[in-house]
Symmetry: none
Subunit: 243 residues, 2 copies
Amino acid sequence: MIPPDHPRYRSLITREHLADCARKGVVSWEGLTSHGRGEAFDYLLGEKTSASARRAGKTAAALLRTARHPVISVNGNTAALAAREIALLQKASGALVEVNLFHRTPERVQQIESLLRKAGADVFSGEAERLLPLSHDRAFCRREGMFAADVVLVPLEDGDRCGVLVGMGKKVIAIDLNPLSRTAKTATLTIVDEVTRALPVIADACTALTDEECRELVTVLDNHAFLKEALDEMAARLCHALD
Amino acid sequence: MIPPDHPRYRSLITREHLADCARKGVVSWEGLTSHGRGEAFDYLLGEKTSASARRAGKTAAALLRTARHPVISVNGNTAALAAREIALLQKASGALVEVNLFHRTPERVQQIESLLRKAGADVFSGEAERLLPLSHDRAFCRREGMFAADVVLVPLEDGDRCGVLVGMGKKVIAIDLNPLSRTAKTATLTIVDEVTRALPVIADACTALTDEECRELVTVLDNHAFLKEALDEMAARLCHALD
């Protein structure tokens, strides 16, 4: 058991929760290691949402608000970490919520859908088809779901699929703590922030922004600038960490 | 299954090996996450031993060589990743090797001890007692082992225990890829490097250094400077990442 007086209590509890989810099959082995990589980058962000990430989150809200058919794609780690935040963002944005997995089995899909439903999400399921030009099971999605989407929010995505979705002409919003990942560089917009912090920022902005603010945020969107700001933030923290 | 020409071959093979060790119980589920965290920092180091880490490794050898009763503390990840390197360092340094786990069960202790013995280490086991002022099972160690040590090498340690060992007046050598961790800041000496690269550097220096060189390295030891150099190295890599 993790002692509540441990200074890294929250981080350790999250890790233990993910390990539990891995035992149940919701989170994959690879998902545990990915989470660790994210933790490291979050350390470098000071484990808080930067001003730049907040602007990126508002821009994400603007993309969702101005979309014709927005979809939120959920994988095992996202469901394990942020099912409630996904449900709240769905309410604020009106987006479809669809489960898409790298390590896909019908059982895992059902488990994750059920976890999301328990958290209050309205999950779009039905028959998945191999519709994306990818060699692995992430090719599976629903024709009326992600395949038809114009804007897709992909928290904790892998680089391959992000690139494919962009290549299909969709606007892809990634949430990725690693500003150097292929996902971060390929997405239309990358929010460099931890997923449970980033999702509520987007949800709040979905409610708060005016239509005009949405149009303006979409017009000035510059992903390279967001990534550069995140890298500078991390580098500055590294440089002054011991001051 | 992983193609040998994959650019991340070594990293993927290591990950797969750790997942196997987790299935067997040697590595904890949480250990997979820790490994991911290390991977991210190692990426920022360019996945190679810096000149600064090499000097830190030599200084670690000097601390071990000038110790009265040096102990190498081994946990699940260290055993899974570097059992052979631990055995070789033991031969070069004459230190005791003792298993200490965060997620402690008698079965895990035995498994890890047996893994180390197969790799050629002479493991100090016997009855462990709750001797360190810590609220979790890392409090367990052996009276004639770590409890009596004047120098303890703790690869991949948690910050709590590192602080406690330093508080008991011991010199603690940490191997930690995160120069901002509590372990890295609390230890007497931190080698910011990947464990399988760092251990052979220490072992080689244990053999190569003269007594006078050992005394001099111990005299000029400046952990803050080592951490600062590691941070500067990582920051430089972040700043030029998008160039």
